[in-house]
């Protein structure tokens, strides 16, 4: 079920990036399985009532992957799938970064390094109110270069926010190349653990493994980080693991090739 859905989500991403403005395709495709699993298998949401008080919260801290989120929200029923066709065009609610005008978007993101702190606020309010809403924050691995991420990481740990789950879309690329040295990818698990987080690593394109690890709640009062290994541009061979896949405006021909690759 989720695999077919993720495939539909990827097709939507390609279609949006074939519009006049293009889109952040690479990071949306790397996150597509994570987003699909969250919204279809893990999170408690009511698409017809986005502000349902018992909902789980989601923040797309890597806000440039907006097209991925829009595709999943539309498929999940937060707004009509047909609305995706207006992406980035005048009059649409769907801009290059998500805003609260979009049903299902909790808080706007786009400037990197804000989402985890916002998530700490949502999780802290729930903790003190005795509510069990979970909070999920999706970050990019390049985004971890922002210092505010680590301010948030520290505070989540000392506040014991065990309903907070951060997911790192570890696709290994940023605009100018590899994130490996800039983010210190080889030390990532150690760094999060050192900040007092419960750390899991998972194949970010394996829906059942993702569903298992994201459904789990740590029992020891720690916030949880899931380091999801992904491929930037996943599903479109001519973009996979390539710098040029970061931001793409598909020509009609490239769109056809991309859709054919997705099957």
């Amino acid at each position: 079920m989720t695999t077919a859905l993720a495939s539909r989500v990827r097709r939507h991403i390609v279609e949006m990036a074939a519009g006049p403005e293009g889109a952040h395709v690479g990071g949306a495709l790397s996150a597509a399985d994570i987003l699909t699993v969250l919204y279809f298998d893990v999170m408690r949401v009511r698409p017809e009532q986005p502000d349902w008080p018992d909902r789980d919260y989601f923040l797309l801290s890597k806000g440039h992957a907006a097209v991925g989120l829009y595709a999943v929200l539309a498929e999940r029923g937060f707004f009509p799938v047909g609305e995706l066709g207006g992406y980035a065009q005048a009059g649409s609610r769907l801009g290059g970064h998500p805003t609260r005008a979009v049903p299902g978007v909790e808080l706007p993101t786009g400037s990197l390094g804000h989402g985890l702190s916002l998530g700490v606020g949502l999780a802290l309010a729930a903790q003190r109110d005795g509510r069990d809403n979970r909070t999920f924050v999706l970050l990019g691995d390049g985004e971890l270069q922002e210092g505010s991420v680590w301010e948030a990481a520290g505070s989540a740990a000392f506040l014991g926010l065990d309903t907070l789950t951060a997911i790192v879309d570890r696709n290994g690329l940023q605009i100018s190349g590899s994130t490996a040295r800039r983010t210190g990818l080889d030390l990532l698990a150690t760094r999060w653990a050192g900040f007092g987080w419960d750390v899991s690593e998972v194949d970010g394109h394996d829906p059942s493994a993702l569903a298992d690890v994201l459904a789990e709640r740590p029992a020891d009062g720690k916030p949880r980080v899931v380091l999801a290994d992904t491929v930037k541009g996943k599903g479109i061979p001519f973009l996979e693991n390539r710098k040029k896949g970061h931001y793409v405006t598909f020509t009609p021909q490239a769109r056809q090739r991309a859709l054919a690759a997705l099957g």
Partner: protein
């Protein structure tokens, strides 16, 4: 005399006792943990020395129905954590209220790292943000109560040390309205914040001695700005002198200039921090004196304005 911090904290605790939604977010400011934190432990959080994170956490709390007051110094609120204030608080129009201490030159000998002479300019430029600059302890207490009832964010600019009251007992703080502390017809002295208002009042006394009738306005709300009082002053008096503990760029002087230019042109002198960093060590009073933010300077500026006043007969009708 009550220190700004004490007036603010007492007012906050009083409000929190009445309203369960009020929270206190701390950034290791000292004293809040033993005060608010002990009184309302479930509504107090010290996020440590990490102001950017604190602003966004407060936004998350506000999005969950809380009314957080965040506590830091003006410098860190407006610039270090400025983007978090802009995006997570102002853009979302969330009721997060920033209590910013050490504003202006009140950091004194701590130097430019802890002085804040550009915060009004920054906060005033953010949509949805209310900007309040109280001039004494009684106004602080009332301003905090007003903030707690606002639907959107606000910025409360506080100094560091106690200053004398400038308002008569029982005076009311009204959001968006300037208080007329002295009546006058020859010139208007427009001030915001404790030392500038004291300077304007001192200038008023000096001017009286010179036979000049100076109106004194305390503009305690920089946004929304009291356009009407400034237009009235322009029409009814012969010119305006602004005085503020802030850069002459972007603060009260600029706000008044904008109103005059668009609605009621009049001659204007701006007294404030010249466009430079503070290069002196000293008490706030010493620094204010060094950079010319004094009653004497305000009175001189007013007299210059009046001396330059074009003769009525020379103005073509």
């Amino acid at each position: 005399m009550t220190a700004p911090r004490d007036a603010y904290r007492a007012a906050l605790a009083e409000l929190a006792a009445r309203d369960e939604r009020i929270w206190c977010c701390d950034s290791d400011m000292g004293g809040l943990e033993d005060g608010f934190g002990r009184q309302f432990p479930r509504r107090y959080v010290d996020l440590g020395i990490a102001e950017a994170n604190m602003m966004s956490v407060a936004a998350g709390l506000a999005a969950s129905g809380k009314i957080p007051f965040v506590n830091t110094m003006a410098s860190f609120a407006c610039l270090r954590a400025g983007e978090q204030v802009k995006i997570d608080i102002a853009y979302n129009a969330l009721p997060v209220h920033i209590a910013a201490s050490h504003a202006g030159l009140s950091g004194g000998h701590f130097g430019p790292t802890h002085q804040s002479l550009e915060d009004i300019a920054v906060m005033r430029a953010l949509p949805n943000m209310t900007v309040i600059v109280p001039s004494d302890a009684a106004m602080i207490a009332q301003a905090v109560a007003v903030q707690a009832g606002l639907p959107g964010p606000s910025y409360l600019r506080l100094g560091r040390k106690a200053t004398p009251d400038v308002h008569p007992p029982g005076a009311r703080f009204v959001l968006g309205r300037a208080a007329r502390l002295r009546a006058g017809t020859d010139v208007t002295l427009v001030a915001c914040g404790p030392h500038p208002v004291l300077a304007a009042l001192a200038a008023h006394e000096q001017l009286v001695a010179s036979g000049v009738s100076a109106r004194v306005l305390d503009v305690s709300t920089l946004k929304p700005f009291d356009v009407e009082s400034i237009v009235d002053a322009s029409i009814e008096t012969g010119g305006l002198v602004t005085v503020e503990e802030h850069s002459v760029i972007g603060g009260l002087g600029s706000a008044v200039a904008e109103v005059l230019a668009e609605h009621a042109p009049a001659r204007l002198r701006r007294i404030g921090m010249p466009d430079r960093f503070c290069a002196q060590v000293g008490t706030p009073e010493h620094l204010l004196d060094t950079y010319g933010i004094t009653g004497k300077a305000v009175a001189e500026a007013a007299l210059e304005l009046l001396a330059d006043r074009p003769s009525e007969e020379l103005i073509p009708s």
